[in-house]
Amino acid sequence: MTTSTSWKEPIAEMLAAVRRVYEEAGLDQNATKSEIVPLYDLIGAYPIRVAELQDLTYQIADDFLRVETGQRIPIPARKNKPLAGYLYVYEFATQFYGCILVKANDMIQRRRFSAAHELGHYVLHFMPVLEREKHRSSSK
């Protein structure tokens, strides 16, 4: 019987990403291990703001971002679908400027989870795109 080790790679990748986020935030990961994760300090390492909105949906996210940024975001047909978390980012000044929205009526643990989940998207999925783009521009 062979043991699959395919799960090891993504976990190592995630742990490396967590280390990177702590470094970016200027925090010592080991020093905070036994404490509550300083989530909002970690998010604050990037040009991201967090806002909590009642009964969050795509439509409510669009309304909020339109008032705040003056830009409209594309919303899907299921615009009133309840959301736990939402992240929208724009490229500006060679960075991804973003806003994490979480459902204000969720309990605190879940709001933190939603915000952390969106930070995960930013770090694991969006940042690599930006890095690739920067690399491509610099190699031109």
Binding site: Y58, E68, T69, R72, P76, P82, Y90, A93, Q95, H121
Partner: protein, 207 residues
């Protein structure tokens, strides 16, 4: 003379297309209507608008919406260069004064910090691009302006918002966690509605 008139017509058409896209993006129906009115007398403008509409009509999901809008915008920038002359707001750096002005106009400055914000108005120092908490703390120290921690937090949030607003972005991305209602039965056989979340990640695609 004829050539000059043709160039003028092309330029006008390009500008109208640019206005049309902007009006669509901003939900400005009056702006859309005025361009459509101009297209009544210009078959070429009408054809271009039809192409744009077709691209927009294909939007059903977030992923295609953002990607297509960018695609259209990029095509316009590529083929109608003159319509975008001087339209590079993402190249203009945000300044401390920009943020202070927005805070003032939105009345988000706590009374205790109003003097500090007043001092920042008109300050042309560019903001650090990273806009991290640490970068804003350093900026505050460099500026030598004393204000509450809350003020600098709102300052940073507003700066990020302004950056998002100024972006005529090459890239926009989105991710969403949708909630799903799951109906489970407990051991007594009673129906119990619980909120279960699933991860429904939708990346709006590179623009």
């Amino acid at each position: 003379m004829q050539q000059q008139n043709n160039n003028k017509a092309i330029l006008l058409r390009e500008r109208l297309i640019h206005c049309y896209i902007q009006a669509l993006d901003q939900g400005d129906m009056e702006g859309v209507a005025s361009v459509l009115e101009a297209a009544l007398n210009d078959p070429e403008l009408d054809r271009l608008i039809s192409e744009i509409n077709l691209a927009y009509q294909e939007e059903e999901q977030l992923i295609s919406t953002a990607a297509d809008a960018t695609f259209v915008r990029d095509l316009l920038r590529k083929h109608f260069v003159s319509a975008f002359v001087g339209d590079t707001p993402d190249k203009v750096p945000l300044t401390v004064g920009d943020v202070a002005a927005r805070l003032k106009s939105d009345r988000r400055v706590p009374a205790v910090d109003s003097e500090a914000n007043q001092r920042l108005l008109g300050n042309a120092i560019p903001l650090p691009a990273s806009l991290s908490i640490n970068a804003v703390k350093k900026l505050a120290a460099d500026l030598g302006v004393k204000a509450s921690e809350y003020f600098w937090r709102v300052f940073r949030d507003t700066a990020i918002t302004l950056g998002m607003g100024r972006s005529h972005s090459q890239a926009q991305w989105a991710a969403a966690r949708e909630e799903q209602e799951a109906r489970n039965k407990d051991r007594d056989g009673r129906n119990q509605i619980i909120q279960a979340s699933t991860t429904d990640s939708e990346q709006a695609g590179e623009k």
